[in-house]
């Protein structure tokens, strides 16, 4: 009896240690990612490659990006501009759709729409990119032609915004649906009892109460838009200087800059390591944006006290 117990306890201990080990390893991956990107990313500023050394200040604030000058200042601005426009376009559509699905639509329609949105959410980004390059870009080009504006074959800020909006719309919609559905019914009943119309109730009461959840969806959408690489690279056009705010000129984001030209770069060269620096900047930008938006979300939620 005693031997068995001792053996069991040992097995338990070994098993526990193995599981602990895998768990720690899993948790370490994020650390590994940050360390590697940071290590490689700092190299261009501290080492010299064939006599080239990149000044950090110029890197962050410059307005041209071709070898050997690497200045991503304008790329940061363009990235934020494109993402801001995408959110402005997709957020209203997503919220209205969510309202429709959660409150207005008959059950059958509601299910069809929910399935449609779930399908859209599961489409891989490369297919959005292909759709963008093969269709949206052509649409933009023809449209610009009609109103007399010249584009670089249609690859433009407008095309990028359209594609990004299509990609983040399902995210915002799905979270908004959950948020609107979880508004307590007594709030709505109270409003209707006080004489408000159904529409008034929906827009002024339900939407407002769901604001924190909707905003969480927007934050997630912004995160996805900032990190999207393949689809954006295919429609943005790779502009070498900037910043530019015109809808019809080509543009560039942090992610598309990392992705382009990866195969000419030799492992360990400046061309290669600079991409890690851009990756580092990308991580910082995403973190900062998330912190700011979460702070705004807290303020939004302050006026609504769940009963």
């Amino acid at each position: 009896m005693d031997k068995a117990k001792k053996r069991n306890r040992r097995i338990d201990k070994i098993a526990k240690n193995i599981l602990l080990f895998t768990a720690i390893l899993s948790a370490l991956f994020i650390v590994l990612i940050i360390v590697i990107v940071a290590l490689r990313g700092f190299r261009p500023f501290f080492l010299s490659y064939d006599g080239h050394k990149v000044s950090f200040f110029k890197f962050i604030t410059g307005t041209r990006y071709f070898a050997p000058e690497y200045r991503i200042g304008y790329i940061i601005i363009n990235t934020m501009y494109v993402v801001l426009l995408s959110v402005l376009v997709s957020a209203p559509i997503s919220v209205l759709t969510a309202l429709f699905v959660a409150k207005m639509a008959p059950k059958v329609l509601s299910n069809i729409l929910t399935t449609t949105i779930e399908v859209l959410a599961s489409i891989p980004s490369i297919i959005f990119g292909m759709f963008g390059k093969g269709y949206v870009v052509i649409l933009v080009r023809n449209f610009a032609d009609k109103i007399g504006i010249v584009t670089a074959g249609g690859q433009s800020t407008l095309a990028t915004v359209i594609v990004l909006s299509m990609m983040i719309m399902p995210t915002i919609t799905m979270l908004s649906i959950t948020a609107i559905k979880s508004v307590p019914e007594d709030m709505e009943h109270g409003s209707l009892a006080l004489g408000a119309s159904e529409t008034q109730t929906m827009f002024c009461i339900s939407l407002n109460a769901a604001k924190p959840g909707i905003f969480a969806g927007i934050i997630l959408g912004v995160g996805r838009a900032l990190g999207e690489a393949t689809a954006v690279t295919m429609v943005a056009g790779g502009r070498g200087s900037g910043p530019t705010f015109s809808l019809f000129s080509t543009t560039r984001t942090l992610t598309s800059t990392i992705l382009t030209g990866i195969h000419e770069a030799n492992f360990g060269s400046l061309e290669y390591d600079i991409r890690f620096s851009i990756g580092l900047v990308l991580i910082v930008v995403i973190l900062v944006v998330n912190i700011i938006l979460n702070a705004v979300k807290k303020r939004l939620g302050r006026y609504y006290e769940p009963s």
Partner: protein, 301 residues
Amino acid sequence: MRKFILSILVLVLGVVLVGCKGKEETIKVYTRDTTSGTRGAFFEIIGLKALAESNDGLVDGYIEASTNGDMMDSVKNDKNGIGYISLSGLSGSGLKGLEFNGVAATEANVLNDTYELKRPFMYIRKADADIGSEIEKQLVAAFLAFMDSKDGKEIIKNKDGIVGGIDTAPTWDSIKDQHAAALAEGDQVEIHFGGSTSVEKIARALSSAFSALAPRFKPMHNHTGSGAAYEGTRADGNLHIGFASRNLKDTESGTGVIYGRLAWDAVVIVVNSENELNNINTEQVKDVYTGEIKNWKDLRN
């Protein structure tokens, strides 16, 4: 909160509207990016050598195309566009090629030296000392011999390269015994090609035909621009043979660099098929690309 959102919307709308511009009849200038050999050859011949490497001095509002295909697409869809492409891409591109100083862009005119906008297709090879294995050295040597043989030159011509001396070159059959080691059977060895995208068609046709002759030869192509021809064939580069679609720079053709020319190509100035212009001379091209001439009206004289 609402006012805040509204003001952001107004601000963004304002920025967006201000950003948009568009005029008719202005010449829209297209160029390749600075690593392109086509660009280098073009600017050098018309006398604007400084513009080959940098965009300083280019007319405002120029648009960069990253490949020949991009350039063709862009000018095809732009009635006011003007650009330059390799002659090999002209047929089937849907674009109109302009005569240069009164001479049409044809193969014959390139070989008899009357058409001036021509450039050489060059190759640079990695030095034997920098190549690891014996078989790789033999394959590179055999491939270059094949390229210079009659068979090779015919393949280059078939892909629109302009090449002279076809009739006097030796046939592959007559020289292949000198490369018996490379043509033997055995495990496949990767030989990396790269460099100019203008030469890619020709390079692929050559390597495709050669791989049927040499069982160990496995060609890998990654063409990213003429700049990579010199860079990639240095000791630490990853190409065995790099191609460039322009004359090699002084820095690229110093002692120790092994290079040669495989063909000529003509650079043809192209405009949209609806454009009425037929001919353009050196001064006019210079003025268009530096911005001295901005409207199509000023060219139609």
